[in-house]
Assembly symmetry: C2
Homo-oligomer: 342 residues x 2
């Protein structure tokens, strides 16, 4: 299996043996535009401006872009700069650093060609990880449930079926999910733009809501479970995810609705003891004053715009990883540390 004669295709990424193509997610749901993201600085820019987003997809895309550079005639210094550009394109996404560190290690110990093929392995592992998370997560369901999700954690966020949305898809196929409520996920509206598009394309019944409406649906007993992704998981089970996740966790706790995050093991940051240690990226205030080129709030108004928030383990029912389901009790007893030692 080597990268040069591989042909890779996922919902948002394609490798044709020569070039790496990515779906410009900022143009969904109305336009499906594929961009050439082969060149590392281009890819770093695409990641930064969210054309490529979703923690696992970012890791795979960056690894493949670096693999493309490894196949060029770039010198060591240029490659080192490319590597750093990619690794630093998005500070909160731990998968990105993880994938890039892995590429570098293989390059140093086994050479450029081996590192190129490592990117291929990372791609296939991501597909398999999604299936493993779904298989573990399917055990959570009692009957057919209506679920809530936030942001996008599906085939647009990974190169497989997805994390939380991948589980929802597999659960829907198995008759265990009947309906999906989709938080629009302000300010960048990944739920309204991406998750609604993805569910529509898959034919899964769904209802779009503003982030402020989830509480009412929970109160009315119309949501039986919350499933959403994670951008970084600390060793004590606290986790960072798209802004608004913490609010959903509080609502689920208050209304007695089970609340789960679904993520690959690479999201667990072994250097991060608790949520307090997760750095939070703050983005431009203009994202809160409007959307895209439309501004509806006064240009003078200050805005608060953290990209992520941290949900404490105390509000979780469980974390679904590709290594299995970890309940709050297990997490609080240090289950993730145990897993690392093993």
């Amino acid at each position: 299996m080597n990268l040069r004669n591989a042909n890779l295709e996922s919902m948002a990424l394609k490798w044709d043996g020569e070039c790496l193509w990515v779906l410009d997610q900022t143009q969904l749901p109305d336009e499906e535009i594929w961009l050439d993201g082969s060149e590392p600085r281009t890819m770093a820019g695409l990641i930064h401006r969210l054309s490529v987003r979703g923690a696992p997809l970012i890791g795979v895309a960056a690894a493949l872009s670096y693999a493309w550079a490894l196949g060029s005639n770039a010198g060591d210094a240029a490659l080192e700069a490319d590597w750093r550009f990619l690794r630093e394109a998005r500070p909160t996404a731990v998968n990105l650093a993880w994938a890039m560190d892995r590429m570098k290690q293989v390059q140093e110990y086994r050479g450029r060609e081996a590192a190129r093929d490592e990117a291929l392995a990372i791609f296939h592992e991501d597909v398999a990880l999604c299936e493993a998370m779904s298989a573990h997560g399917l055990t959570l369901f009692d009957g057919s449930e209506a679920v809530l999700t936030h942001c996008n954690s599906g085939g647009l966020a990974t190169v497989g079926v997805g994390t939380a949305l991948g589980l929802i898809r597999r659960a829907w196929e198995a008759g265990k999910v009947s309906h999906v409520f989709v938080d629009e996920t302000r300010p960048l509206l990944q739920g309204g733009r991406l998750t609604a598009w993805e569910l529509g394309r898959l034919g899964i019944p769904h209802t779009l809501i503003t982030d402020s409406m989830a509480a009412i649906l929970m109160r009315e007993g119309r949501i039986q479970r919350v499933l959403l992704g994670a951008d970084r998981i600390a060793m004590n089970g606290d986790f960072a995810n798209k802004v608004g996740t913490y609010g959903v966790a509080v609502q689920a706790h208050f209304h007695g609705v089970p609340f789960h995050t679904v993520a690959p093991w690479s999201t667990v940051d072994t250097h991060c003891p608790s949520g307090k240690d997760i750095p939070i990226e703050h983005r431009d205030a203009k994202e809160v004053r409007g959307f895209g080129s439309l501004r509806w709030a006064p240009v003078q108004s200050e805005a608060f715009n953290p990209s992520f928030d941290v949900t404490p383990v105390s509000l979780l029912t469980s974390i679904v990883l590709d290594r299995g389901v970890f309940t709050r009790e297990q997490l609080e007893a240090g289950a993730l540390q145990g897993c690392c030692v093993a």
Copy 2:
């Protein structure tokens, strides 16, 4: 005091003795466009499409528009139709029905001219009610606090300083409020468009947030109090307000942040025993799929779009009315019933 030689002016409504002008709130914050809302069917349309919004302002504007019609040479049948159009322009706004019923009663018992002057009285009473609410509400504050508000309940929602935002303004002037966090209030963004504009115009320091960010700020101890309006208050203290209010109430309860609604007595619906009896208007799904002419979600996606939600009295710290502050305990003991009998 009579309407023909009166000259009325508030932040969003003007009467020049001949015509009734209203600020088109759908065009804020960038454009200040005043529309002639004299004619009742025009006014009903402006209320329906939210150019005129805010429960107390709707009541005053409808009364003045009906007063304008009473001053025309319209026959009884035409007037009756105008009256009904105005009264039914917005089903959840109890102030509207209250103001229109009051106009009708005066017309029937004391004639057209008296009813015209009644509209003038309704205007001046609204100004005085705002000051009374503020005076009672000021007793809530301990020191200088950062507060959170939702939607718009200020000088754009009344003809005085406002209900909740009027209290915030008076408290800021008294050194009791240091900063205002403003929920943008999806889907129609009254917080981002109107409250941020109004606070900017008044020079009150504020920060705009998406509705999903309030929880984080509460967790960080950066919000000391929540103050927001009400569209209808049931006799047991449950109340309806702009969608998202219930979610804020749950967040405030979880984080131990005092939560108050501020409203005039006319918001209390004596025919409504509890929140279960408040009808909830559902609006077009397209408001959730985008904003204004911009759509970002797939046109095929279903959406849930209640205009209001109901917050149970159990999540309230107190209701601030022009008649005084009613604590949760007093409300649960039937204080509003007692007030009606008196």
